[in-house]
């Protein structure tokens, strides 16, 4: 009986010891994880190196870029457009990568790639911004065809097209109702608008034909959608480089055949 009592008491001590140690161990683990997060997380917000850029980081990257002397020189004093600010992951060295693979938090730099369009002589400017050190580590000029068109370009192309008498005539009395879509925030809002929407979408076009007016120009073909129907005509191409609007023939009209509607 006495033996049983001692054994039972030992078990209780063991449980007590383990219950005491458990939280200590867990607490130690948690504080290590918190420390590793805080190494890259400003202002108490969890920002890990490959998480998407926050709006604040994008603003910061843009501001750092436009304040950099090399970027200023490349952009010139004329009109410019901010095209994009995106995370630009660069691999760590092999040693750090191996450590990360084994479970050890590593310092992984967080870079943003900022792209601008310079309208004068149409060229792009690319700045690589180190968000941790808050400086521009590289600024280069890129060709205009490496700079994607944007929603701003679509808005400008739409404005040019809708002020063109030929386009207005071709679109008829509904011309003024067409406009580029608002940002689509949810699938539900998109579906709600679909029924009575008059929207303009754009497709950038390139050509291999040196005689084509869009050869090496920034051109957008505009697509007019009324509800769930896309208009087959007019075919509107806006040359943003030359600020010109052109109506093209649709499909088989080019080959001398009328499309059968």
């Amino acid at each position: 009986m006495a033996h049983q009592s001692i054994a039972a008491r030992s078990r209780v001590y063991l449980v007590f010891a383990l219950v005491t140690l458990c939280p200590l161990k867990l607490s130690a683990q948690m504080s290590f994880q918190q420390r590793s997060l805080q190494a890259t997380a400003p202002a108490g917000q969890e920002i890990l190196p490959l998480n998407p850029l926050s709006a604040e980081e994008k603003r910061s990257a843009e501001n750092l870029a436009v304040a950099d002397s090399r970027v200023i020189k490349l952009l010139g004093a004329g009109r410019r457009q901010l095209v994009s600010v995106e995370l630009f992951p660069i691999k760590p060295d092999a040693e750090r990568m191996a450590a990360a693979a084994a479970g050890t938090p590593i310092a992984l730099e967080r870079y943003a790639e900022v792209i601008f369009l310079r309208y004068e002589n149409e060229a792009g400017v690319r700045a690589l911004v180190d968000l941790s050190r808050r400086n521009v580590i590289e600024a280069t000029q890129i060709t205009a065809d490496q700079v994607p068109l944007t929603d701003s370009d679509l808005a400008e192309a739409s404005r040019l097209a809708l002020s063109n008498p030929e386009v207005k005539k071709a679109l008829g009395p509904e011309a003024e109702r067409f406009r580029p879509p608002e940002p689509e925030t949810s699938a539900e809002s998109t579906r709600e608008r679909k029924v009575d929407q008059y929207i303009i979408r754009g497709l950038p076009i390139r050509t291999l034909d040196e005689n084509d007016p869009c050869w090496k120009h920034r051109c957008l073909q505009l697509l007019f959608r009324r509800g769930d129907v896309y208009l087959t005509r007019p075919v509107v191409v806006v040359d943003l480089t030359a600020h010109q609007v052109r109506l093209e023939k649709a499909g088989k009209e080019r080959d001398g055949h009328e499309q059968s509607h």
């Binding site: 049983q4 039972a8 078990r11 063991l14 449980v15 383990l18 219950v19 140690l21 458990c22 161990k25 867990l26 969890e46 890990l48 190196p49 490959l50 998480n51 998407p52 095209v83 994009s84 995106e86 995370l87 992951p89 660069i90 691999k91 092999a94 990568m97 990360a100 693979a101 084994a102 479970g103 992984l108 490496q146 994607p148 068109l149 689509e184 925030t185 949810s186 699938a187 998109t190 754009g202 497709l203 950038p204 076009i205 390139r206 050509t207 291999l208 073909q221 697509l223 009324r226 129907v229 896309y230 208009l231 087959t232 005509r233 649709a250 499909g251 088989k252 499309q259 059968s260 509607h261």
Partner: protein
Amino acid sequence: MNSRIRVIVPVLWVCLLALGVSTSAQTTPQPWMPCSGINKIDQKFPTAGPEETHWLLCWEVVPRNGLVIHWAFFRKAPTAKWIQIFWDARVSDIFVPYHNNSHRYYDMSGFNFSLVPIGPADCPATGGGTPLGGNVCKEVHDRGLAWKDWSQVRRGEEVVLWGALGAGNYNYVMEWTFRDDGMATGRVGATAVNLPSEPLETHMHNPIWRLDIDLDGFPGDTVKEGTHTEFLPTPPEATDTEPVVSRENGLDWDPHAFHQMNVYDATLKNGKGDPTSLQLVALPTGGLSRHEEDFTKHDFWVTLYKPTEMWAAQLPTYICPPEAVSNADIVLWYKGSVHHHPRDEDGEFVSGGWRGEALIMWTGWMLKPHNLFDRTPLYP
């Protein structure tokens, strides 16, 4: 006394687990993950029951590139080492030339297109779906038979991430699948509305993937071109060879040669001592196109990793002059093709317009482990 034991045993078990001295001590620690929240995928298989295999990866939505994968790791068993598979995997561009050469569209690099919103109708919970961030769907579900042997059978599972890029009149569904057997696949599906000005004009959608594969880390990777040869008519034998791709180059896929790009690490071997590789296998839908543009003249490209080399149309310049890619940090590129020959099922002309939807058409590839496991996975 019995009641005490009933209390003590579970408490002991929980505490031993927490102290890391139980069976879980033998599981390998997870890689450090530089992403969190919805951008981190942590998927063990099978979804119910003890873990057999496990994927860990990050994803991000990037304007122009859509849904991009970063930092992907796979573990073949709870006690096995985590193996890095991808540093970065993305669709670099989608090139769309029309047969009549009216225009040549670059549906990714030409415009800052973004992913379209999705909701429960796109990504239903009944299909294992979870919408992430409003424009990406994660689906975890049964993938059909993993193997069958008379009365014995095992069904497999997979985690799929997809998002749809809204590119003018088209939507491009970008799909990344990570399977319980270590296979990864990538597909692009073209859907939505034919080009309104030429809805009946045949054209090609060419997605070009940039796959930065880092097998067990990036140093020391080598690409070998898997090639099958039949010596017909005599002697009726066949052989398979694997010449090393020693310098940056564009390579062609021949269906009769079963060409595939096999990525080896300098030191990685399985438990049997056999070298592990990942085999990039084309899954063309009917064929692979060639066009006037130089970057479309090959199906595969092997380049040395450079962080600024991201755009498919620049590929010919990336390999000039060709640098050594043996035992190096390599990037594989693959161009698929969807030959879209419009049909009545795509839609119809209605009072001055075009109405209807092109049903989704897919093309893609698979990345298949070879000698990663020591024995048949998902097998008792």
